[in-house]
């Protein structure tokens, strides 16, 4: 079935609501109005008692999701923008994600928190962030960030089925992307090689994946063969798949839409280095600068990774002395 990314999300939610009466959706403006990004349109009419419009209370939303998950529901909570997650963070970090370990396995917390994330929409510094790094160091939580409608559908269904808290991130610049949605099952935690290559491994996620693919095509004409890996799950990251690739290509570049210092790209680079130091000829990150996302279009475009900036970075690293360093 051809669907856009937004439609794939909607269908996954609809199918889960239909399949399991324990599934419940709640968030701000998601019901009657169908959501700030029109993702949940129609779901409340179809499942009136299980799609709820809530007050603007992010901490209560995540807290209620946590408690409900402990008592038999499978809540899918929408925190409208990923930028608002800090308001909900205590519940996710100190309650939901610790429960499985701390209770010594008495129960886990099967809840999903969905958010719109990412820059490029001219939404300015406080509606454009990608909140992965804030949660990357939180044991017990999974972070999923699909880049295609097919993955969005399959991984969101997997997230709702998962027994653990899952942060599910939807990049606002992907909502209109169209693609075939097969409905094929997928497991959280598996990265995919979305393009094979020999000279270099490009690792990324979310909106940067199409950028990497575009860059790989451009690099091809320059005689550089890039392997592109779509992480899909950011936490825990699928290091083995990357290591295998890097052992083949000997070069690693991680592309992250997010600040350089403390970003998840650092984790990937570190973990791969620990296993591949001896076989790597170069390893580096392309990220955004260490400042907030600017509003002005020209600033924002220059700030974000793009196919062009990826190509430029690759060319620089592969032409420079670093190749044989």
């Amino acid at each position: 079935m051809q669907l856009d990314f937004r439609g794939a999300i909607r269908k996954a939610l609809d199918d889960e609501l239909t399949a399991d009466p324990a599934v419940i959706l709640f968030g701000e403006d998601i019901g009657a109005a169908g959501g700030a990004f029109a993702v949940t349109t129609g779901l409340q009419e179809k499942h009136p008692n299980r799609v709820l419009d809530t007050p603007i209370s992010e901490l209560a939303l995540s807290g209620a999701g946590f408690g409900a998950a402990l008592c038999g529901l499978r809540p899918v909570v929408e925190i409208m923008f990923g930028d608002f997650l800090p308001l909900a963070m205590d519940s996710l970090l100190n309650q939901a994600s610790k429960f499985w370990y701390m209770s010594n396995g008495q129960a886990s917390v099967p809840m999903v928190v969905r958010c719109v994330v990412g820059a490029g929409g001219r939404f300015g510094p406080i509606h454009s962030q990608t909140p992965i790094a804030w949660f990357m160091s939180v044991p017990g939580i999974k972070i999923v960030g699909p880049s295609t409608p097919a993955d969005a559908y399959s991984l969101l269904r997997a997230a709702v089925r998962d027994e653990n808290p899952v942060l599910f991130l939807e990049h606002k610049r992907l909502y209109t992307v169209k693609g075939e949605v097969s409905g094929e099952q997928q497991s959280i935690g598996e990265a995919a090689i979305v393009r094979e290559g020999a000279d270099l491994t490009l690792v990324s996620a979310l909106r940067a994946v199409p950028d990497c693919l575009e860059a790989a095509a451009m690099l091809e004409s320059a005689g550089i063969s890039a392997e592109v890996i779509d992480l899909k799950t950011l936490r825990p990251p699928d290091i083995p798949t990357i290591v295998k690739s890097v052992k083949k290509t000997h070069r690693l570049m991680v592309v992250e839409e997010g600040p350089r210092t403390g970003g998840w790209a650092g984790e990937i680079l570190a973990a791969v280095t620990e296993e591949c130091l001896g076989v790597m000829q170069s390893a580096w990150r392309l990220t955004t600068a260490d400042h907030p996302v600017p509003y002005s279009p020209g600033l924002e475009d220059a700030f974000l990774p793009s196919a062009t900036s990826i190509v430029a970075s690759v060319t620089q690293h592969m032409a420079g002395g670093k190749v044989d360093a």
Binding site: P55, E58, I126, Y295, S296
Partner: protein, 322 residues
């Protein structure tokens, strides 16, 4: 709170308030237009319909007071004195914008004109003003927070209200109740009443007709005086309505039938205009002249902003102040 003194707004004051409200309204219309032309980006939250709160309340502030408001902050920014050129340039993402194009419509900041910021996080303005109030303990300065009905359910509000009451801070909390948070009617997501909630903290609270600029001024004068007297925080609920959608992409389907029309009858600009002509005897021509002046100013600012340079992406930026 002390008995309020009715403030007989003099004719030229009223004309000036009208000028400000009118300017804000046509600025908001221009924003809509700039958006549709692809010059204003992302999203923007217009305050059309709420001008009497922005202009009325800010018109009685002192020069050393400070204000924090929300992403729906165009009216407040202009009422506080933000330069119109710098304002529009910011919305268009230009270097000459009040924040150099970095912040955009939702996050305007203008410390020189008393604006601690428009806060993109619901509730953020409440905290900023509470902190300002802490800095103003024992002085004659007052901090003002503007926020919406939806913010009352958000963590910042109850925590900060308690905080400022406990320390007796000079803060005026002004809730602009426009009946909706985004597309959701306030009463479907809000238990009890806002007034009761605030009074439960022992904070003096009153309601005011947010469409009547003179009523807003009077109420705000009383609130400021009380806060300035060291009587601790004060709360004002301004009953108002936004004539535009929540943000640029909202057709407003959630409104009850006839509701919009009823509120339109109470358009604060129309009410002020009526007061000017029928009560204060100002000639229609004088008002027209004011309106024309506003339109001319706006056109000039719009042109200047449209021609202004974009910031240079190559400029080096530090995340820290040295």
């Amino acid at each position: 709170m002390r008995e309020l003194v009715i403030d007989d707004v003099a004719t030229d004051t009223m004309l000036d308030l009208y000028r400000q409200m009118f300017l804000i309204r046509i600025v908001e219309d221009a924003c809509q237009d700039l958006y549709s032309k692809g010059l204003l980006h992302g999203t923007t939250h217009l305050c059309s319909g709420q001008e009497a709160v922005a202009v009325g309340a800010n018109s009685v502030l002192g020069p050393h007071d400070r204000v924090a408001c929300t992403y729906r902050g165009h009216g407040h920014s202009l009422a506080l004195g933000m330069d119109l050129n710098a304002f529009i340039a910011e919305l268009l993402g230009r270097q000459s914008g009040i924040c150099g194009g970095r912040a955009g419509s939702m996050n305007l900041i203008d410390l020189e004109h008393r604006l601690l910021g428009c806060y993109g996080i619901v509730g953020g303005s409440v905290a900023a003003a509470t902190g300002a109030g802490l800095a103003f303990r024992g002085t004659q300065r007052v901090a003002v927070a503007y926020f919406g009905d939806g913010a009352v359910n958000q963590a910042y509000f109850p925590e900060c209200l308690n905080f400022s009451k406990v320390f007796g801070l000079p803060v005026v909390y002004v809730c602009e109740n426009n009946l909706y948070g985004e597309f959701t009617p306030m009463d479907t997501v809000t238990a009890g009443t806002i007034m009761d909630r605030v009074r439960a903290y022992g904070v003096a609270a009153s309601q005011v007709d947010g469409m009547d600029i003179r009523a807003v001024r009077t109420a705000m004068q009383g609130a400021l005086e009380s806060a300035r007297n060291g009587d601790g925080p004060v709360f004002l609920e301004a009953l108002t309505y936004r004539f535009a959608g929540h943000s640029k992409s909202d057709p407003g389907r959630y409104r009850a039938a006839g509701e919009f029309e009823r509120w339109r009858e109470r358009d604060p600009i129309r009410l002020a205009r009526e007061a000017l002509t029928s009560e204060l005897g100002v000639a229609e021509d004088t008002i027209k002249q004011v309106e024309t002046e506003c339109a001319v100013r706006l056109a000039g600012a719009r042109e200047a902003a449209t021609e202004a340079l974009f910031p240079d992406p190559g400029e080096s930026v530090s995340e820290f102040k040295a």
